[in-house]
Amino acid sequence: MENRSRRAYSGWAVALAIVLVYALVPVLWLISLSFKSPATVSDKKFIPTDTTFENYTTLFSGGLDSPLLRPLINSILIALIATIIAVTLAAFTAYAIARLDFPGKTLILAGALAIAMFPPISVVGPLFDMWRALGLYDTYPGLIIPYLTFALPLAIYTLVAFFREIPWELEQAAQVDGATPWQAFRKVILPLATPGVFTAAILVFIFAWNDFLFAITLTSSDRARTVPAALAFFTGESQFTAPTGNIAAAAVLVTIPIIIFVLIFQRRIVAGLTAGAVKG
């Protein structure tokens, strides 16, 4: 018994180590690259021989006109706005889908799924023309709107699953206790769906943060260009040096907000929050 669990344990440890190495080595390599000078960037050594912060400082030199600062601000704002709008709308939609029986309910779910499966590449062309005609090209809404169309289905699906888990009777209890439908939703259902709301928020945020296709197609300047698109416009010191170090440094920087975001919200995703609502 003891033996077996110990063997199972070490088996898991090995598997975990392999996954960790597989996932982390490229990241570590990236970090290593970001600390190398242009001269040593292709020396194939894991530990940088001449550690330098130059790659980072050049990214921010020049204040708002620096290569990274504006895109970073754009990225954060656009991803946050898209997340807030998507999760708010999705919470209402998912609640209605999970709770009510109304005509067209399946149509909404099927439609959401169909949109989520739509390849983005097929819409960017028409969007480019439309956005230019409408004056949305190279603006925040110009990116937030297409993000919403893809993020909403994602958020709705996640939240429907969470809302379905919440016992109907809690809401009825709230009604009997004198709550209006809105109060029942706000004070009972939403707090219980918090883990779901944060899960959806993380997924949407990561989706918006990582998007490259829309960002590169629908922006033309630092007005709305996000970090993934801005990376593509980095130039080397001269025409003939690749900006490898700078790109690596920017890539490291762009990962940090995501990690922070996940760490903050992960603590809110406490499983089993609904335990104790009903007989346990």
Binding site: P167, L170, A174, G276, V278
Partner: protein
């Protein structure tokens, strides 16, 4: 506090199921009313219509002389305890109990006072700042009760509030509920499928079957004077025994004995006779010279000694009864509890613990013929003359139900205020 009146209430679900059919019930102010019946008979549906959680398809519901059909639950001023308690898991016990008051914008000092008062009554004072998930089943049940009583509502509605507790706790909590209702003297509608709970708790008990109200009476009247074979078989544990018998002249012929026809019965030919287990006795220990008492001999197959009493299962030849009312009971209770309904040819007698009858032998038993209940073999209704008069009234109501279910023949058997049809074997 208020009275609750159900006038001819029907519930039809979206899929066409008629869960409650033409229900009429007057619940008096301060009364403890029990809705009881087998699983799926529409008790919860009826209760949820009173609460406002379910729309009323037909009829009128009055709380305190006000028609509330179209009022939402929050405007009805009733408190409900759900079967699985439905405590808010993200709130402490204190917040759970104070939630309704907080929504009603009662000031915080007042809320605290009321919550602490209720917590004291329910012995929850030490647990006020804990979350429901950290409480035991019994404590959760009390929090659910507490959530109801802090509000001082017009009425309490409870849907099987004790069914999630283990047997011992259930008995203990049962007395607590009774005491609480007496102290508060608030109208209470209490749903259960446990006839013991119904008998011990209620001022009056309403027995339902397949959406139709069968009889509303005090527990004592239900026990002594059931309106039909269904109520007779449902109330009492172990259940009443049923035999088919014939009346000829002044004699009532049972498969194993011949009795005098009880007073007030004017019927001849086939009847169904119901005898409660306690109306049998070991012939050696039977009261002497009891009017209507008759001795008979029967093979005892199984003896169950409980210390305080002995249950003897004896068999008899022919005369087993089958009826859809009894079939309903058997389905709900498990066949063992309605011996002659399911097994056929077997009855249970409750004997004095001093009885020396032995298993597997023929024993001399005694039956109290005066206590036998007689039922019509066709519709299962009681043949007592007082009941026959009531039937005339009930049949008028039943006619409405019958007329309605005309389009839907299978529903007919289940309809009718005095139960479905009974077919003797």
């Amino acid at each position: 506090m208020a009275d609750i009146k159900l006038h001819d209430i029907t519930k039809r679900y979206a899929d066409g199921t008629e869960a409650v059919k033409h229900m009429n019930l007057d619940i008096k102010d301060g009364e403890f009313m029990i809705l009881v019946g087998p699983s799926g008979c529409g008790k919860s549906t009826a209760l949820r219509m009173i609460a406002g959680l379910e729309d009323i398809s037909e009829g009128e519901l009055l709380i305190g002389d006000k028609v509330v059909n179209n009022l939402s639950p929050r405007d009805r001023d009733i408190a409900m305890v759900f079967q699985n308690y439905a405590l808010y898991p993200h709130m402490t016990v204190r917040e759970n109990m104070g939630f309704a008051l907080k929504l009603a914008k009662v000031d915080q000092g007042e809320i605290d006072k009321k919550v602490e008062g209720a917590a004291k009554i329910l012995d929850l004072s030490e647990h006020l700042d804990r979350k429901p998930s950290n409480l035991s089943g019994g404590q959760r049940q009390r929090v659910a009760m507490g959530r109801a009583i802090v509000r001082d509502p017009q009425a309490f509605l409870m849907d099987e509030p004790l069914s999630n507790l283990d047997a011992k706790l259930r008995v203990q909590t049962r007395t607590e509920v009774a005491r609480l209702q007496k102290d508060l003297s608030t109208t209470m509608v209490y749903v259960t499928h446990d006839q013991t709970e119904a008998m011990t708790l209620g001022d009056r008990v309403a027995v339902m079957r397949a959406g139709v109200l069968q009889q509303v009476d005090t527990p004592r009247m239900l026990y002594n004077d059931p309106i039909n074979i269904f109520v007779a078989g449902f109330i009492g544990s172990p259940a009443m025994n049923f035999f088919s018998a014939t009346i000829s002249g002044a004699k009532l012929k049972l498969p194993f004995a011949e009795l005098a026809v009880p007073e007030g019965v004017s019927h001849t030919g086939e009847v169904i006779v119901g005898v409660r287990p306690e109306d049998f006795e070991d012939a050696a220990l039977a009261p002497p010279n009891h009017p209507g008492g008759v001795e008979f001999e029967a093979p005892v197959e199984v003896l169950e000694s409980l210390g305080s009493e002995i249950y003897a299962y004896f068999s008899f030849e022919g005369g087993a009864v089958s009826s859809d009312q009894l079939a309903d009971l058997a389905r709900d209770a498990g066949v063992a509890e309605t011996p002659s309904g399911g097994g056929g040819g077997r009855a249970v007698a409750r004997l004095n613990p001093e009885s020396e009858i032995s298993e597997g032998s023929r024993a001399r038993l005694w039956i109290d013929g005066a206590k036998a209940h007689l039922f019509d073999p066709h519709d299962g209704s009681s043949l007592k003359s007082s009941r026959q008069e009531q039937r005339a009234g009930a049949q008028a109501a039943a006619a409405a139900v019958e007329a309605e279910s005309e389009k839907d023949p299978p529903a007919r058997a289940a309809a009718g205020a005095d139960g479905g049809s009974t077919a003797p074997e």
